[in-house]
């Protein structure tokens, strides 16, 4: 019996498979193709950025992104709105990163956030970006996720609580602590550079 494929990213196509796929009737998924592609175009860049910053690995971000969308497509939940669906997607992605630290993706995750991994194609201000990446890399994964969701994504406290599986009432305090920690790291980087120059 041939080995089973374990993730969406592992699926490769032969010409025969592509022809079969074109001919066969669609497998029922939670969205139709047009709706999925429109939703994907709206959400994939921000989800990819989130995954890249939380995991610190571009390749892993690609894999987890595809897995997250697959799980969304297979979900039996009824989504009340686009925001609800988006939050569900980010929650799945967060859980995949968390699970990955313990299992399948452990080899990829937590090599600490690498500047070279993420800055290769990015535009100007490399020093500023490096500072942010370094500071994020020194935070705990949950702190990284909290700060990113709050200030990079602009999510509300209740949305953050939903994505991270925390109580809404605790977000304010957790955010305060994470923010203090990151500010100290950023200020430390800056004063260190000031002292050297």
């Amino acid at each position: 019996m041939p080995p089973r494929r374990s993730s969406v990213a592992d699926v490769t196509f032969t010409d025969v498979e592509l022809l079969q796929a074109a001919d066969a009737a669609d497998v029922p998924l939670a969205m139709d193709e047009d709706a999925f592609r429109a939703f994907y175009e709206r959400t994939a860049p921000s989800l990819w950025g989130y995954l890249a910053r939380i995991s610190g690995d571009r390749q892993l971000a690609d894999d987890l992104l595809q897995e997250s969308y697959y799980r969304l497509l297979k979900a039996r939940d009824a989504f009340e709105s686009e925001a609800h669906r988006r939050n569900y997607l980010f929650r799945v992605a967060t859980n995949l990163v968390r699970d990955g630290r313990r299992g399948a993706f452990a080899g990829h995750i937590d090599r600490s956030v690498s500047v070279s991994d993420l800055s290769a194609d990015e535009p100007s201000s490399p020093e500023r970006r490096a500072d942010v990446q370094r500071a994020l890399g020194r935070l705990k994964p949950r702190e990284r996720a909290l700060l990113w969701l709050a200030y990079a994504q602009g999510s509300s406290h209740s949305e953050i609580a939903g994505v991270l599986g925390l109580k809404t009432a605790s977000i304010k305090l957790l955010l305060f602590r994470a923010r203090r920690k990151m500010a100290a790291l950023l200020e430390g980087d800056r004063s260190g550079k000031g002292a050297r120059s």
Partner: protein
């Protein structure tokens, strides 16, 4: 660390999120941030992450939606096929478990029966011992004896493997 929540944080965050911070922000808010530690942290962290998010999103290279859709289709199809196979495997497992249970039960019954009829068993036991003694006396260095003996042993080993292979091939 004692948290200090400043009432100006919301106003400051609104200015940062709207891109008004720091140049287009209210002068009083700017003056406040200079003197408030919590707001200074917020301005530093939120401003840095906002800029970083813009850079990362601009440079994001997620796979195309078409590829992700097709891969999801392929995987869903594969999982559907696996789900069809699963009940067959379960039934096979149950059948093997039942057969093993039946065999063990039979062995238990036979053992009890044998223990209960030792008088009947004694002559048979003597016969078996006699056969074993005769077998031990056979000269296995003689090739006309050795060859059939080896063939019999080999067939005893190969037959179950062959039956298993045939049964496996028959499965789709």
């Amino acid at each position: 660390m004692t948290p200090h929540f400043c009432p100006h944080e919301t106003e400051l965050w609104d200015a940062i999120a709207a891109g008004r911070w720091p140049d287009a922000a209210d002068a009083t808010l700017r003056a406040h941030v200079v003197s408030c530690g919590a707001c200074r942290d917020l301005a530093l962290v939120a401003g840095s992450l906002q800029r970083d998010a813009c850079d990362v999103t601009r440079a994001a290279t997620p796979p195309s939606s078409a590829i992700v859709w097709w891969r999801a289709q392929m995987r869903a199809r594969q999982e559907a096929a696996d789900a069809v196979d699963r009940p067959i495997t379960v039934v096979q497992g149950l059948a093997i478990a039942c057969a093993a249970g039946l065999l063990l039960g039979l062995m238990g019954s036979v053992a009890a029966w044998v223990r209960g009829s030792t008088g009947w068993f004694s002559p048979w036991s003597a016969t078996v011992t006699n056969v074993v003694v005769q077998l031990a006396a056979v000269d296995f260095t003689n090739r006309w004896v050795l060859l059939p003996a080896v063939l019999i042993c080999l067939s005893l080993v190969i037959a179950p493997v062959a039956i298993y292979a045939i049964m496996t091939d028959e499965q789709p």
